[in-house]
Point group: C3
Chain length 397, copies 3
């Protein structure tokens, strides 16, 4: 793409009108056109910023963030996206707030949303809870808007739930599209989403689920591999299979990392916790059973340790297509000999892919901004044109 008009033309060929005043929960709830619209707007916003054209479409308004797990990159990606569009981030810190005082979600959500245009939530710790919580939030603001309490309905951006991590998977995918020179070049490409050994505990399932739930839509051969006992949500596997069938690609599960890596064009080796264990942990937390949680952690670490051979070593990489598969990771990775003794990936492999890995991450702020843009504006293509014509510099010269 060379000019903004190219992005605009592409948008004009897509049907994404249902995104207006909507929300973003799971990628597989969106049509192919809608997914492509997100990629296109993300690229267009990047194009404008790279050409020093302001994309500040809000003169005022808040972007509320709620993180129920530690976060650096997603927190900054959300802050960057909001700032890029003109919204000021206000963190809802449940420690400081009165949610702890027994308020219901409905009430708190309305109370903080009087001038909010966006709510971004990360809630990935507990199986069966995060996505539900996000729906409760959206139901609350939708009702609040209908009842005349809220002048606008803030749009929700899922910054990671128990089921999907859409901003991550879409940033990963947009990176793939750029690396392969366009979505049209992906048919028949093999991508391996595999478990990898980590000495740490309880990593969320939403990354592998998000990846297979999205990557199966582009005609690629998607392979999932993990040791026995590390199953992911079966419902998401069904989504992946259905996607693959529809897109003309394939989805299958294999039993070893070697088989997954064999001739792969893209590999995504990454640790996660077993679904069943995460369900158990959710119950233990609900019961406040700290002894049980500690015992489970010990057990899971021991289980992980049986699979140290699941590591993205140089040897493993040599099995891939020409030994040169594109290596992906959501970061931070557990790097053998760097951040831990034995981990997900060899230091030399990681080093070789550092720049592409960082570029992969650089798409996330634009993906988030695009989700907001498509939810808040009736005619995003016209608005992009308007921004270009206005031509306010992002930074004065």
């Amino acid at each position: 793409m060379k000019t903004l008009q190219d992005y605009i033309d592409k948008l004009n060929a897509l049907n994404f009108k249902d995104m207006y005043e909507g929300d973003f929960f799971l990628t597989w709830e969106k049509t192919d056109d809608e997914i492509e619209a997100v990629f296109t707007v993300a690229d267009a916003l990047r194009y404008l910023r790279e050409h020093n054209i302001s994309t500040k479409v809000f003169e005022s308004g808040l972007g509320i963030s709620l993180f129920r797990d530690n976060s650096t990159r997603t927190r900054f990606s959300f802050a960057s996206a909001c700032n890029l569009l003109g919204l000021e981030v206000q963190d809802l810190d449940e420690g400081k707030s009165q949610i702890a005082h027994g308020e219901t979600v409905r009430e708190t959500t309305n109370m903080i949303s009087f001038m909010a245009d966006v709510i971004g939530i990360r809630d990935d710790m507990y199986i069966g809870k995060g996505n539900k919580y996000m729906h409760a939030v959206v139901d609350a603001v939708t009702q609040g808007n209908k009842d005349g309490v809220l002048e606008q309905k803030p749009t929700l951006v899922n910054l990671q739930c128990d089921i999907d991590h859409p901003t991550q998977a879409m940033a990963d995918m947009l990176h793939i599209i750029h690396e392969f020179g366009g979505v049209e070049n992906l048919k028949g490409k093999k991508i391996a989403m595999t478990w990898a050994y980590s000495p740490s505990y309880g990593k969320p399932l939403s990354v592998p689920q998000g990846v297979i739930g999205l990557m199966t839509r582009f005609g690629m051969d998607v392979v999932l591999a993990h040791p026995e006992g590390y199953d992911i949500f079966p419902e998401v596997e069904e989504v992946a299979a259905a996607n693959a069938a529809k897109s003309g690609g394939s989805y299958k599960k294999v039993a070893t990392m070697e088989e997954a890596f064999k001739d792969a064009d893209i590999v995504y080796p990454k640790s996660w916790a077993p679904f069943a264990a995460m369900e158990k942990r959710t119950d233990l937390y609900a019961q406040g059973d700290q002894a049980g949680i500690d015992a489970l952690e010990k057990e899971l670490l021991a289980q992980n340790a049986q699979h140290k051979d699941w590591s993205c070593t140089e040897e493993m990489m040599s099995l891939t297509k020409d030994g040169k598969a594109l290596y992906l990771h959501c970061l931070p990775a557990d790097i053998s000999g760097v951040s831990c003794k034995e981990g997900e990936v060899d230091g030399s492999v990681f080093d070789r892919y550092r720049t592409p890995l960082y570029k992969e991450a650089s798409f996330k702020p634009y993906i988030i901004a695009a989700m907001i843009f498509l939810a808040k504006f009736a005619d995003p293509a016209a608005l992009l044109k308007q921004l270009e014509e206005k031509g306010t510099p992002r930074v004065m010269k």
Copy 2:
């Protein structure tokens, strides 16, 4: 009101010139015209926002917030108000800051105010301290400005002190005005501010005090009711009595919730702690006497539990005018069977009034913004006109 000009005409008929470069501590330190100016500017700012007209009157500048108690709604209301006017919120977190290192209020206040246009403070925990602290802050910035240290004097907005909660009481009042179709319809209406049972401890007195200190100014019959031993500041009762005499309404105290609710047009049942106990607690905190604080908490909870019959039940509501009094609460309420076993209000009553309660809360950001607007601009009416004529969209279309 139909057009912005109506608000402007109303403003032009009021005398509020002393608000310019002033501060907002207590509602009863303001004239009737000044109180009406706040309501009018709040409505005008809301009108502009609802018509998608930016009210960003600051290109840069900080709004400093200092919360000495947990807060969600007031924190977000302040952030929303600042953002609406173009100010960026910067929290002064005493945990993180060097106030803990023995700095004096005067020094810290100047150090953080070099580019501050507003300071919002919530300090309601200790009797005889919060309001005094706010005055110390204002004295410091006034002197700093006079001495050429500060280029501007930030305006103080009292976000709740030990005496008054002006942004809450004024949001409540503006809600009443809207519900009753204008301040001119309030003469002779009965409003009951009553204590209600809560299983929690030490709720501030500033809400009932703020309510009787303000609501007595509009010709209404204001009734205060609480169990024996739950007295509020006597000075505020004197203010209420004087207000009522002047406004042609009335102020009286009754001994039961039933009597207060009888034929009331508006009810505000809400828990608070006894004044004497709060004074005692303030001393115990000053002495660092944790055992004493714990004993006092126990004692107060036991005292509360003797008055579980002070609850806004369906039966109690049926005593009000046509059984349909407007139910108010500053939120969050202790809802029987929802957030606690027995509390301030029945779940079914709360449910029926949820939308009006949320609307009541929605006025707070505008009340805060109006207080800032009136303190920072010499001619607010002309500025509102200018904003309308400029017509910068809040959100691009």
Copy 3:
């Protein structure tokens, strides 16, 4: 100076082209012209703000702050500077972030910098670490920008490291320049940087080091004095000596506060910890030796207590030039009889200099803003002119 053009003319006579796209680590890494450019731009930005002209040169962009030590004034100075230029501050709180999860500096720095124009860091606790960390951050973003990961290279502002505290020393210096009516009036003036007794522990060395490293550049007679055992970095003393030789001033060390204060035009009495003890503490922290840290603290406090006569008393002040030396402090000071029993300065001395002390502090936001301005814009003089001509009011009227 009377008009903006005066500042612009001054800038046009200076050579500071190497500051563009650079960073600010240590004052002695900058040429005299570059130092003067910072002062000039700081004054020019202040001039514009005082004339209600917006200096918002960024329409969007983040200013990232990372504080590894408590801070009020520097935190607010950085926030004020960013806000003045149009950047939104986003704190990197290592407690909340995944740095704790073993991420490398390189990775985290890139991950948070996709839309960052500035990074401000305070890292002064550990000898040999803070400045190194800042260089690692700059190396990371420089490489990230070169590799196409970052569209812009954020500029680093050293908000205090183990070696220098450039924003403090330059704010102090600009205050001196204003008090003495111009840098041309400083030749031959005597300034005493002396240790002073404090009942607290482990105050950083970067203030005295920053002061002697900078103040020796203006032809002044700079005297350092401290009790035996309170040496500062020898490398910085070498810098000071070389500066003095070059500027036509002098640098010497004397053994008593009295000798240092004798006929001084300016005094800066301030506590700090011995260099050797700070090195030891750094090692103890690295080893996680809490018992050792506690023992060291006890030892240092006892050592401090032997030097209670090093205090800026009225008697000591009477030794200075006409008894009227300009008293400086970075604040907060340990004030005898106010914030502690015996401390760095008498209450009466501090009181007399309060307004100048607050003014001294008021330069810091402008110094920081000037450092950013000079690093981000190729032609700062032209940009200042453009801002004046545009004439957007900071606050509408």
